[in-house]
C-alpha cells in the first residue's frame, strides 16, 4: 500500500475532510456545454457559492458524444472547470469507461489508460475512481452500471482487470463498491457482494471507495432491515478504504433507490458515522451529485442532512 501512496503526485493526507463529486454530462444543465466548450453556468454558480466549503472535488468523465477519445476534445472544457477551483484544491476523476467489472476478453483498456494518463498529466488528478461494474456491454453503455457477476471465476477476471489498470495508471486507482439500485440492475451470481469486494480488493491490492448508499442498497436487496442494514461491516476491506461517497438515496414502494437527487437519508449518515470510526486510512468523504437551483443554491430539502454530514466529517477530520 505504501508503494501506491508514493505515486500520489499531489500529496493527499489523511483527514482532508468533505469533498464534492459531480456527474457532468455534455449538454445537460449540470454539465459541460458543447456549444461553448465550457462548464455550464449553473455549475459555475454552485461552485462560486460552495467550493470554498469543500476540501476536494471529483467529477465524472462522460464521453463527449461521438468524439474520438482524445484529450484535445476535453482539455478546454476541463480547464474551464479547474479555473473555478482554488489553486490548492485537490481533485480527482471518476471514470466511467474503465469497465472494470466487465468480463469481455476483447475490452481494450490500453487506449483508455493512455487517455486517462494524458488527462492526469494535464490536470494533476490525485486519484481515479470507478465503481466495480459493467458500464458497457459489447460496445453499448448500460443505463446504469451493472454489478459484476458475483461468481468465483468471474472474480478472477475482474482481479486481472483491476490489477492491470492500477498498474497502468499514473495515480492510484480507487475501486468503488458496486451499486445495486432496484429497477435498473440485475444481480447474477451467488457470492455476497461484501465478500466479493474484499476478495477483489485484497487480490488486486487496490484502494477502495465505499459508496454508503451502495452498501445500504445491497443489504436491503439481501433482505436486511433496521440495524441489519449496518451489519457485516467487518467483511468489507475497510483498512483499504480511502474515500466514502454519499449521493441522494430513497426508499419507494419497498425498494431502495440510488437516486443521486442530492437528498441524503438518515440511514446513510448513521452508517457513515460507523464507517468513519472503522476506516483507518480514509482521506475524504464525498457528497456526490448535489442538487441545486439555477442560482447555484442547494435545494431546501437537501440542506438538513448535508449540514449533518458536514458536522460529522468536520468532527472526524479534526
Amino acid at each position: 500500500m505504501t508503494q501506491i501512496d508514493a505515486r500520489i503526485r499531489r500529496p493527499v493526507t489523511a483527514g482532508m475532510g468533505l469533498g464534492v463529486g459531480m456527474d457532468l454530462p455534455w449538454g445537460a444543465p449540470v454539465g459541460f456545454d458543447p456549444s461553448t466548450n465550457r462548464i455550464s453556468g449553473r455549475v459555475s454558480r454552485y461552485l462560486r457559492r460552495e467550493v470554498e466549503t469543500f476540501a476536494y472535488l471529483f467529477f465524472a468523465f462522460q464521453p463527449r458524444g461521438s468524439f474520438a477519445l482524445d484529450p484535445a476534445n476535453y482539455v478546454e472544457a476541463y480547464r474551464s472547470l479547474r479555473a473555478l477551483l482554488p489553486d490548492e484544491l485537490p481533485w480527482a476523476l471518476h471514470h466511467t469507461i474503465l469497465n472494470l467489472g466487465s468480463v469481455e476478453a476483447d475490452y481494450d483498456r490500453a487506449p483508455i489508460i493512455e487517455f486517462t494518463n494524458a488527462l492526469i498529466a494535464e490536470f494533476d488528478f490525485a486519484w481515479i475512481v470507478e465503481d466495480i461494474g459493467i458500464w458497457s456491454m459489447a460496445g453499448v453503455p448500460m443505463p446504469y452500471p451493472q454489478p459484476p457477476y458475483f461468481t468465483a471465476d468471474a472474480l478472477d477476471v475482474v482481479v486481472r482487470n483491476v490489477t492491470e489498470t492500477r498498474r497502468g495508471l499514473d495515480v492510484p486507482l480507487h475501486i468503488e463498491f458496486p451499486g445495486v439500485t432496484d429497477k435498473v440492475t440485475i444481480v447474477v451470481g451467488d457470492l455476497d457482494a461484501y465478500d466479493y469486494f474484499r476478495r477483489l480488493a485484497d487480490r488486486a491490492d487496490a484502494w477502495v471507495t465505499i459508496d454508503v448508499g451502495h452498501l445500504l442498497g445491497w443489504r436491503w436487496l439481501t433482505g436486511h432491515r433496521g440495524s441489519g442494514l449496518y451489519g457485516a461491516l467487518d467483511r468489507l476491506p475497510l483498512e483499504r478504504c480511502r474515500e466514502l461517497h454519499l449521493s441522494g438515496c430513497g426508499i419507494s414502494r419497498g425498494r431502495f433507490l440510488d437516486l443521486h437527487h442530492g437528498v441524503l437519508m438518515d440511514e446513510q449518515l448513521d452508517l457513515t458515522e460507523l464507517l468513519l470510526e472503522r476506516c483507518p486510512n480514509l482521506v475524504g468523504v464525498t457528497y456526490e451529485d448535489p442538487r441545486y437551483h439555477d442560482s447555484g443554491l442547494l435545494v431546501e430539502k437537501a440542506r438538513p442532512n448535508v449540514d449533518r454530514l458536514r458536522n460529522l466529517v468536520a468532527a472526524w477530520a479534526r
Partner: protein, 246 residues
C-alpha cells in the same frame, strides 16, 4: 486476455437475455433453452425476472432516445419508424435483438460503429417498399451529417459505407429521392446533403450541381466526371463556397 469459457458463456447468455425479448420469453418457459451448461443455467435462473425485464426495457428506451448510443432514433428516423408500422418500443426492441445492433460500438476504445448505421441496415432488412428504403437512407445520412456538423473528429469512420464523402471543408452526400442509392450510381431524382462551416444543409439540387459536389471528393463516380467538366465544377464549387455550403 484469456477469459474462462464458462465466464464468457455466462456473459453472452446474460447479454442475450437482456437484448432479445423472445429469448427472454423462451427462457421464462424453459430455462434449458439457451443450451448453457447446468451451472450457468442455474445462475441465470437466479436472476430476478422482473428486474431483468425492467433493465431490458431501459436498454430499449435508452437506445430509442439516444441516451445510450448517441443517436435519437425516434427523432432521426421518424419516417422510417412510421414505415415499420409498429409502436416505437416494439420496433426498437426488435432492432436491439438484431445482428445489426450487435455491431454497434460507441464506447470509444475501439473503432466505432454508429447506432444510426446499424439501425439503417436493420431497417433495410425489414422494409420491402423501395420508397421507404430511400427514406431510411436519407434519414440515416442526415443523422450522420448531424454528428459531423458538431464533431470534427468522430470515433467512427463516416465514409465507411461510401455514402458520405469528405470535401476540402466539410462533407457531402448525394442520394436519390425515390430509391436507395449505392455509391457510384447516378441518381434519377437527386438529393444532396452536406456539412459546411459547421452547418448542415440539404435538398433537391440539379444533377450537374450534385456532380460538381462529387467531383470535389477524393474518388468521384464516373457519372459525375462525365456530366460536368473540371472547369465547370470549379465554378459551381466557388458559388457553393460563397453560400457557406462547403
Amino acid at each position: 486476455m484469456t477469459v474462462p469459457a464458462s465466464v464468457t458463456a455466462l456473459d453472452v447468455a446474460v447479454r442475450r437475455l437482456l437484448r432479445d425479448d423472445k429469448a427472454r420469453d423462451r427462457f421464462a418457459r424453459d430455462p434449458e433453452c439457451l443450451g448453457t451448461d447446468p451451472r450457468i443455467t442455474s445462475l441465470l435462473k437466479g436472476i430476478n425476472r422482473s428486474d431483468l425485464s425492467r433493465l431490458a426495457g431501459a436498454v430499449v428506451r435508452g437506445v430509442a432516445n439516444g441516451s445510450l448510443c448517441g443517436t435519437d432514433l425516434q427523432a432521426s428516423f421518424a419516417r422510417t419508424l412510421l414505415a415499420l408500422g409498429a409502436p416505437l418500443e416494439e420496433s426498437v426492441a426488435r432492432f436491439v435483438a438484431s445482428r445489426e445492433f450487435a455491431r454497434v460500438e460507441v464506447v470509444g476504445n475501439r473503432p466505432g460503429f454508429p447506432a444510426s448505421r446499424a439501425f439503417y441496415e436493420w431497417a433495410l432488412t425489414q422494409l420491402d417498399d423501395v420508397t421507404a428504403q430511400a427514406v431510411a437512407q436519407q434519414e440515416y445520412v442526415r443523422a450522420l451529417l448531424a454528428v459531423l456538423a458538431t464533431t470534427k473528429d468522430p470515433v467512427f469512420t463516416p465514409e465507411a459505407d461510401g455514402l458520405v464523402r469528405r470535401v476540402p471543408h466539410g462533407w457531402v452526400a448525394v442520394l436519390d429521392a425515390n430509391r436507395q442509392l449505392n455509391w457510384g450510381t447516378r441518381p434519377l431524382d437527386p438529393i444532396a446533403m452536406g456539412v459546411g462551416a459547421g452547418r448542415m444543409w440539404g435538398g433537391r439540387l440539379p444533377d450537374y450541381v450534385c456532380a460538381a459536389l462529387l467531383r470535389m471528393t477524393e474518388a468521384p463516380p464516373l457519372w459525375a466526371l462525365q456530366l460536368v467538366s473540371a472547369e465547370r465544377a470549379a465554378q459551381i464549387a466557388a458559388i457553393l463556397e460563397a453560400r457557406r455550403m462547403l
